[in-house]
Amino acid sequence: MNSHKLEYTRQEMMAIATGRELRDGELAIFGVGLSMLAGYFAQEHHAPNIRAMTEGGVYGAIPVGGLPWGIECNRISANATSFTNGVDALGFLVASGRCDVGIIGAAQVDKFGNVNTTGIWDGEIGEHYRAPKTRLTGAGGANDIACGAGRVLIMVAHEPKRFAEKVTYISSPGYLDGGNTRECYGFVGGGPSAIITTLGILRPNPDTKEFQLDAYYPFSNIEEIQSNTGWELKVCPRVHVVPEPTVDELKALRKVDETGALRKQ
């Protein structure tokens, strides 16, 4: 990003790149935090008919007053058209196979798109389960979305510690050991279609399911991304630059992100 003057933050670029993956009319579920901003940005900008829900079963809502504190915060309960429950949203509409797309976050992700949000251990866990050195948030609904949504978008800050050859603990499955290992479990959903980061976009190789660099941003480059990835990141032959956010996109995102959660550096 040396000489490039940023008029948007890396987090905003990540949210916009994620939002661009969503298509109008899709049934979509958004996790808490940045995922929600990316999702509602898409609704505001190019997917007005997206059928958005949260895992708590909040339907028809558009957040008011900025980033909701949670999936059930009053900021998302102020204009909903339906409130139901977890069995309905995560079960009837996601585990059933009806949901087209989900957005989840990650503390750590590996080259097959497996996500760890459970804990950080010193070394391997070993045969005997032991408590993590640092306990994180657990799987929440992300495991259910990772198993059931048609495709999954993973949003994560691009730092070496977050990109591991193999995650210590799989909280939410990607392609497990790669190849066809995911298929052995009979999940309803297809698995992660992209890992969208603060530096670029990774997509799975169709055969090996290993994530490789598909695109970088106007302010990042291939070497920078590779050096921030904890495995030997392969580069797609068709690697390209992601178009910068347009004025309209930034306007729409900042309308949703009223409190500037994505503008904090």
Binding site: V32, G33, T54, G56, G57, V58, V64, G65, L67, P68, W69, G70, I71, E72, C73, N74, R75, S77, A78, F83, T84, N85, G86, V87, L90, G91, A95, N114, T118, E127, H128, Y129, R130, A131, P132, K133, T134, R135, L136, T137, G138, A139, G140, G141, A142, N143, D144, C147, G148, Y169, I170, S171, S172, P173, L176, R182, C184, Y185, G186, F187
Partner: protein, 330 residues
């Protein structure tokens, strides 16, 4: 004829809980509805060695675990969403004081659904293939664990599915926006798993922000998702979910969410928190004073307050409720 079930918070904890009880709270949301004040009362009455069943962590589980009162916990999500990691629960898990068995949010909900149906287990294709299935905090020696979420075969198609053990908590405290004195309840906002929990638990205590006349329930019977026949006690306690939110009534208290979580990060500051915010009040009036007039004014200016409009004319006064509590405790 159904009887009024209004009792005091202290009486509810005294009657329905004991050390080591398998205790569930609803909605067990990290920001929204949860019967948090009942957790404070558990600590006030010295309850410990709890087996906590929380759909998700809330400030209640964070507090109970941080205070050292939870031996075992099962939950789907163990953070505080945008407020970050749950320091009290985290400290208890990292030191080994609390064994935390991980599931996903759907898994917890269907386990309660199974309990409500009195089924031994519920099949699903979530959690399988991940370490949620292969690692068990309750049976740490098993790897890969086969007793936590065993695989079963669909007898019709031959497909492999995970079997999730049903939950029937010994007692559940369920926060609701409003209840009538008999125990009929209306929840504003997502139910999360309160519907299932109210049928799965062996004893159900409702903790209500408002008490309304039964005529209100007769006006909106479709919205009464918890009917009196599954309820054992009703506790009236405005701001019961504080510092979390109650849609229609109050927003999350952002400052206290942060300061409480900060306090729970160490043993020493947790003791101070207990002194200031758990053992400090003798009455509901004291409790409101503890929250503070300014804060209450701020959090009740909620964008969701219109959600309460249809019900306001049936809200009972504190005096009317006090009389009913006296009768209920007789």
């Amino acid at each position: 004829m159904p009887q009024p079930k209004l009792i005091s918070l202290a009486a509810a904890v005294d009657r329905f809980t004991q050390n080591g009880v398998q205790y569930a709270s609803g909605a067990a949301l990290p920001i929204g509805s949860d019967a948090i004040v009942l957790g404070r009362e558990l600590l006030r009455q010295g309850r410990n060695q709890l087996h906590a069943i929380f759909h998700c962590n809330s400030q209640q589980l964070n507090l109970l675990a941080g205070a050292g009162a939870v031996d075992k916990a099962e939950c789907g999500f163990s953070g505080l969403e945008v407020f970050g990691f749950a320091n009290g629960l985290r400290r208890a898990v990292e030191t080994g004081a609390t064994q935390l068995e991980d599931y996903s949010n759907l898994a917890m909900a269907i386990r309660l659904f199974g309990g409500a149906m009195n089924w031994p287990f519920v099949p699903a294709t979530v959690n399988i293939g991940s370490d949620i299935q292969y690692r068990s905090a309750f049976s740490p020696e098993e790897y890969p664990a086969t007793s936590k979420i065993p695989m079963i075969t669909d007898p019709f198609s031959g497909r492999q599915l995970g079997a999730f053990q049903s939950l029937q908590p010994e007692v559940a405290a369920i926060h609701v926006s409003m209840a009538d004195p008999l125990g009929n309840a209306i929840m504003l906002g997502t139910e999360w798993s309160r519907f299932e929990l109210s049928r799965a638990a062996k004893k159900v205590i409702l903790v209500a922000d408002e008490i309304v006349h039964t005529d209100c329930m007769r006006q909106f019977p479709n919205l009464v998702r918890i009917p009196d026949i599954v309820v054992d006690a009703v506790v009236y306690w405005p701001f019961a979910a504080w510092p979390q939110s109650s849609p229609g009534l109050y927003d999350v208290d952002e400052d206290h969410m942060r300061s409480m979580n900060k306090a729970l990060a160490t043993e020493e500051t947790t003791q101070q928190y207990l002194k200031d915010y758990v053992f400090s009040y003798q009455s509901h009036r004291d409790y409101l004073g503890m929250i503070g007039n300014e804060t209450r004014e701020k959090i009740t200016q909620t964008e969701t307050s219109f959600l309460m409009d249809p019900y306001r004319k049936w809200i009972l006064s504190a005096d009317e409720i006090a009389k009913l509590v006296l009768e209920g405790e007789r």
